[in-house]
Assembly symmetry: C2
Amino acid sequence: MAEALTSWQAVADEVLARIRRRDWAPGDLIPNEVDLAGEMGCARTTVNRALRHLAEAGYLERRRKAGTRVALNPVRRATLRIPVIREEVEARGAHYDHALILREEGAPPLAVRSLLHLPPDRRLLHVVALHLADGAPYAHEDRWVDTETVPDFATLDLTQQSANAWLVQNVPYTRGALALSAMAADPDTAEALGCAPGAALFTLERTTWKAARPITWVRLAYPPGHRLTTDL
Amino acid sequence: MAEALTSWQAVADEVLARIRRRDWAPGDLIPNEVDLAGEMGCARTTVNRALRHLAEAGYLERRRKAGTRVALNPVRRATLRIPVIREEVEARGAHYDHALILREEGAPPLAVRSLLHLPPDRRLLHVVALHLADGAPYAHEDRWVDTETVPDFATLDLTQQSANAWLVQNVPYTRGALALSAMAADPDTAEALGCAPGAALFTLERTTWKAARPITWVRLAYPPGHRLTTDL
DNA sequence: CAGTGGTCTAGACCACGGT
DNA sequence: CCGTGGTCTAGACCACTGT
């Protein structure tokens, strides 16, 4: 008889091996926890931990009473590291710096206003900055901040500290949304990044909320060729 | 005395509340599991489950003997659902279809060859296709497949079934990489997608491996304006 | 060495949701 | 109704790592 699998990792590995080996094909119902525990020679808790892990990873689908099935579409999930730009730059061994390009109150464009659910006359603080790696443009930041939600932000010296760094440290958000996209470089952005107007830029937009109140909308635009990568 | 928190969810909520309330500031060491269990009136296992969950979510950092600290950079992870295009289209209530544009053997470009660690003379199967939603272009797919790793792919009728659908169902990968970026539309892609040449396209590249052997490299290019979104 | 998280166990009860 | 996963408990031992 086979050695007992007494660690949840070992159980998970065995189950995954059976899935890869097609002993259990996509859509198949696999044995319940009690039976598996008997077969593996361990406690049900251990099997539960293993199966729960595989379900979180997208390999299994579990429902009470209905049992556990091998996922039909091994759900492709990628966990992205959201760039905290300073760290991202320094991780590459480069010197980080940032330059403030603009800081003024004004009415946000319609797209931003509607994303943040703001009334038409509402004014926000508009901040534009450039992030540098060893002096070269690394990312262009366009941000609108609701200073009613974050009053302290209005008095901040943004030449000393980037808006992002301060917000991350001081204003925990309760809800946020992320959107990845591409945009053609407008003249100002192109000049800041040192690329041609109209060039294809990878963009990352983030909207954050503190309870029902918007904190900020920010769009980072990266120079042509920039890639955000992760393992699967 | 407060009600005992006897579910790991309740414990996690309470800990998260204390972090948000700054009772425990970023970098702070929080009480150990035994003490917390005493305070909350539950078993240590329950506290462990809660803290493990918060650590996985990025709120805490845990090390044996060193204890549990509030993360300095709160949640900098986003889990993206990688689009399985057909489902993505149908989830929007649209009719999915795809058209095969090209299917021929050839030498891959240098970029692809080096990503897959292939020798210079190696030939792969090149597949170009267009994914449609209600007849409109939804995404342009450019793919190279290693038919030595996946011999069955060579005989597949790609007009019946998309390359992606078949590979996902039949060739589980053991390792993969994902890169998100932007590119300017080349003339062929622009024509397929019905946009202007040079337009900024959001792209998603995936490379997958079966053990040490490459399976496929694929790049999906989306029409201007497409966004990949997730909650934080 | 000793403190802290990591895990396993056996048993119990609960909650959801097919039938 | 009742099978299945979800969770809690109390106790135990282990593994890592700071001191």
